[in-house]
Symmetry: C2
Subunit: 107 residues, 2 copies
């Protein structure tokens, strides 16, 4: 991992939601996707991932169900809710604004 967690902090939930907008997924897979998308520059720690899931579920942004795998380890799938889609739009908007602000400040 090349970028510090304090910079990614605050984006965890948005990153997860972004993944779930494409399709329902489960923890392990989401993490793999993130690594792939960033060419291994960023990896969510498991504990971070699961605590974010808990927050997102509590907030009504995702719902969860168990996969029906007959082989291999069981998978807990997550699906984004309507609430979650709204939240995601908000996060994206916020990111665009934050980007501008930080760019201004780090000139």
């Amino acid at each position: 991992m090349s970028i510090t967690s304090d910079i990614l902090r605050g984006h965890t939930e948005a990153i997860i939601l972004s993944n779930l907008i494409e399709q329902d997924s489960y923890g392990y897979q989401i993490n793999k996707d993130i690594m792939k998308k960033t060419n291994n520059a960023y990896e969510l720690k498991e504990a971070t991932l699961y605590s974010a899931f808990r927050r997102l579920e509590q907030a009504g942004c995702i719902r969860t169900y168990w996969g029906d795998e007959t082989v291999g380890a069981r998978r807990r799938y997550y699906a984004i809710t309507e609430e979650g889609r709204k939240a995601y739009q908000g996060y994206k908007q916020e990111w665009q604004e934050a980007k501008e602000i930080i760019d201004k400040l780090l000139k």
Copy 2:
């Protein structure tokens, strides 16, 4: 303030250093500058500012001296060190990378 602190978290020190590269300054002024630069979209809380000063000094990124004001409240000035300039370059680099990564992830 319109953008959440979790997103700015991790940029505080870089923002301060950026300010000190322009000129020596003091806490109150730095905060005012930040507000001005961001059109009041972002304001460092005082406690955040001062704890960042402490970290930066500890890390050798800034040094401090008292101003010689004869009127008004005393001012504690901060100056960036060579170490601090290097750190700032690192922060800027990191920000460029982080920006790309987050942009990829929030597509």
